[in-house]
Structure formats: C-alpha cells, structure tokens
C-alpha cells in the first residue's frame, strides 16, 4: 500500500486515541498530578531528614537542587510509564476491545496502527511530563527553566525513539506470556529503577550499573539532569552522551521490530493471537 495511505492509517489511529482520552479529562489531570506526588514523597522525606538536606544530597548526587532532581526523575518516569502502557499493552488492548480480528484482515500492516498509538503516547507523555515538571517547580518554588533547556529537550526527543523500541520488545514478551497487566506493572518500575529516577546509578554495584547503562532511558534521564542541573554527563561531555543515545536510535527500532514480528508470527502459528 502506498506510503501516503499508511500514514493516513497512522494518523487515524492517533486521532482515535486522542479523541478517547479527551472524553476523560479527569485522567489528564491525574497524569499531571501523579508525577508531582511521586516526587513530593522523597522531597518531604529529605526535608525531614535534618538541618541541611541539600548539602548531603549534593554530596551524593552532584547538585543541591533536590526538588528539580526529583521532579525530573518523576517526569521522565511518566514518559516511560506511558510508553509501556500504551505500546507494550497495545495488542492486549485491541484483544479486549474486540478489534484485533479486524486489524488482521485489513491490508495495512499493524506497525502503522501501533505507530499511531506510539505517536499519541509520545504526545500525551510529553505534555504530562512537561506540565508536571513546570507545575511542580512552581509549587516548590524552583526555577523550571534553569540550565540548558534546549539541550535537555534534545535528550528527551532523541531518547523517545529507543524507549518506544524497547516497548516493542516488551510487547513481544506480553504476546507470549499473556499476563499483560502484571508484566507491564513490573517493567515500568524495573526500568524506573535502572534509570535511577530518584538517585544516581553511580550507587549501583558494577553489574547493575552495566545493566542500567544498557537502558536508553538511563542516558535520557542523566542527559536531562546534566543539562538542567549540571550533575555531570556519563562521558563528561554532552555530545558523547548524545552519541550513545543516537547509537541506540540506530539499533533498537530494528531489533525491537524484528523480535516483535518473529514472536507474533510464532504465536499466530501456535495458539493464535486472539487468545488472551
């Protein structure tokens, strides 16, 4: 089918999801509220910890601005959260909605449908993450636009591609194991742990550190923190860290797509994709 027609399917999928969520405005409010609450908890624990929490925090992380540090972490967690729930859970969602059979009958490849879902997820995630970060900064009386804001945005935008590729890999696992809710719940917290949303990964033992560095979101989170708060890039300079992220951009989409395709074909040959 022509490329134009495929993009038409992509935007139709995107528009459908967008229309659905606008029917639940309360959910959009919660999307902004929850990251602020998540960040609030370690912030409050820090404030109760002693006479000079900022100094102790700076000794451990490289910045005394623990509020922005936590807010950045929880905002990036929001992005990761949406990526996993919307894309990795996508096929399961189609099964539950009863539209999966129709998807397999149309001439368009399903990748264009999931790409539309990914675009929706990106938009919603970015909006929620940025709104939570700015609103949280205002509430806690911190400047949200300190440091190199454009560089931080570049890290986020570049990091989104490998992040969503990772969700394809995970979607393949869900196709096989089927217990989607439990696995997505586990993975979102797993990735958040390895990303170090509230702490630097420098505190990990060597093996965990290596695993953490294999996760693109880890580079994304540290890139944003280093750009805004100056905590320090992994390779000391921003362009080297960005280069690593670009390497992930080149490798992970093809790998993720290949694994998902293989798994889907295998499931179709055996128990069938409709079983859930």
């Amino acid at each position: 089918m022509a490329l134009r027609a495929n993009f038409s399917v992509l935007f139709a999928s995107f528009k459908m999801r967008l229309m659905t969520i606008t029917r639940y405005p309360g959910q959009l409010v919660m999307d902004i509220f929850i990251p602020i609450v998540f960040a609030y908890m370690p912030i409050l624990l820090g404030r109760a910890s002693g006479s000079n929490p900022a100094a102790v925090f700076a000794a451990n992380t490289g910045t005394s601005n623990y509020i922005a540090y936590m807010l950045i972490g929880s905002s990036v967690f929001t992005l990761v959260n949406f990526a996993f729930w919307h894309v990795a859970y996508w096929l399961r969602w189609e099964q539950e909605a009863g539209t999966l059979e129709a998807l397999y009958l149309v001439p368009t490849h399903r990748i264009w449908v999931v790409a539309g879902t990914a675009l929706y997820s990106c938009l919603r995630g970015m909006f929620s993450a940025l709104a939570a970060y700015v609103l949280g900064s205002i509430i806690f009386d911190v400047n949200p636009f300190q440091g190199e804001v454009l560089l931080a945005l570049v890290f986020i935008l570049v990091g989104l591609i490998p992040l969503y590729s990772l969700t394809l890999l995970y979607g393949a696992l869900i196709l096989k194991v089927k217990e989607a809710n439990a696995l997505v719940n586990l993975m979102q917290w797993g990735v958040s742990f390895f990303m170090g949303i509230f702490f630097p990964i420098a505190i990990f033992p060597p093996l965990l550190k290596v695993i953490a560095l294999l996760f693109p979101p880890t580079w994304m989170t540290n890139g944003v923190r280093s750009a805004l708060l100056g905590v320090g890039f992994f390779f000391k300079t921003w362009y080297l860290d960005l280069a690593v992220l670009w390497a992930f951009v080149l490798i992970t989409p093809f790998f993720g797509y290949w694994v998902f395709n293989r798994t889907e074909r295998s499931v179709r040959r055996n128990e069938g994709v409709g079983q859930f």
């Binding site: 309360g26 609450v37 409050l44």
Partner: protein, 292 residues
Amino acid sequence: MEQIEKPQKQSHLTAELSAFWAMAHKELIIMARYPVNFIASFGQTFLIVAIFTLGGSMFFRTSAISASGSRVETSTGNPSGVVVYGFILFMFMSDTLWTIGYNIRNEQVQGTLEQLYLSPASKFASLIARVTNTLVWTSLLSLTAAALMTVMIGKLPVKNPWLGLYLLVMTLAGTFGIGFIFSALTLRIKETAQTVANFLQFGLLVLCANFFPFSALPPSILFLSRLIPLAYAVDAFRSTMMGFPAGFPELAPFPIELMITTLFGLIMPPLGYILYRRAENYARKHGSLSTY
C-alpha cells in the same frame, strides 16, 4: 420407589458463612491461577521499595557516614520506622480501594453480577470476601516490603506489639469501611471511579504522610491531614511500634489518637455497608446495576 432425601436445613448463619467461604475461595483460586501476576507483585513491591528508599537515602548517606558505619537518624526519629510502618498501611489502604472498592466493576464486566443477584447468597458477602484476598495477598506483600526496607534503611523498631496489633486491626477495619464506601461510589460513577481511585490513593499517600513524618508537611496540607481519621491511625500505629520516640505521635496526644482510631475502626464498616446497600438499591431501581 426411591426415597427423595430431604435437604438438610442450614441455619441462616451457616448458610451465610458457607456463601462467604465459597466467594473467598473463588477469589483465592483466581489469585492462584495467575502465578506471573503473583510473582510480579512481589517484584514490583521490591522495586517500588528500592526506588523510594534509595531516593530517600540520598538525604542520609554520605561517604563519611558510610565509612564510619554509623546509622543516620532523621531529626524526627528512626526513618526505618516512619517509612516502613507507613508503607504497610499504605499498601492496605491502596489495595482496599482497588480490590474492594473498584473490584465491583469486575463482577459487572465478567457478567457474574446478575447471577449473584439472582441467587439467595448474600450480596454483601461478595464484598466481604474480597477482604480475605486483601488480607492474604497484601499481608504477604507488606511483610516482604518491610523486610526489604529494613535491610536497606536500618533496623526496624518493634515496640508495644499488642497495642500495635490492636491499632492495626482497627485501622484495617476502618480502611475496609472506606473500601465499602468506594464500592458504593463505583456503582454510581462507573468508569470514572478509576480516576477517583487514583486520586484518592495518591492524595491519601500525601495527606496521611505514609513515607515521611507529618512534620515535613507544609501547614496548609497538615491542616487537611488533621481532618482525616486515617492520618491519626497512621500516626498512632507507627508511634506505638516505634516506642513513642521524642516528637511522636505528631498530630495529637496518644489517648486521643487511640480513641479516634478505635472509632474509625468501629464506625466505618457499618457506615460503608449502609452506603453500599443504598447505592445498590438505587442502581437496582434505576436499572443500572448491570451497566458498566
């Protein structure tokens, strides 16, 4: 001709208990049929505990302190006690909202609600049966989380165990009552209940100060905390288990908190039941019981 055996008459109480056990058994069987879900719950608990504990430890640990091996104490007592006991109550509170409160929708979605209402079995037993699930599953998760946090933060103080147990029972009874009330709300507002449950879960997390002492809250939020009985229950429980260190309890003198927690545990379940029956009757009269 074969003699037809007369069915044995069961007393009303025996029938109720039998129905309750059947429903609880069903919930436990469903739990056991999803082993990945079961194992993932423990994994998820471990990760959540690790994330928030390591994040909080950024305010405590320094290289000097780590080298000396000494434990850091917050300005308001042992952080392990404050965080772990608060976390345990948060897990029950959160699970109550979802497993008891929102789970009524599962019966609607599964299509088993109509059968339940056609049978002579107690409808309220269905609600109570989910309490069993919460007690078993959430207790296991809480124990796991407590053990993990103890390893990561520091030794957990365990003082006044019997008084602590009494306060825990009263607090759980009160949270179950909140679950019944939320179940009633779910019957009215349907899918919007998911958003409300999320809001309540995180709102109570802050207002009841489950992960930090109440002294960390700004005055405007502390004012709201003082209006919530569950906040006094959290404060009383962890103050008791920590052996009443200086500054604890934080919201009110202990005898007052004990009274509030007791009243919370005694009043909320019957109140929740009354509100649930009202919502149920409303839904039946307006034909919305099976709609979701």
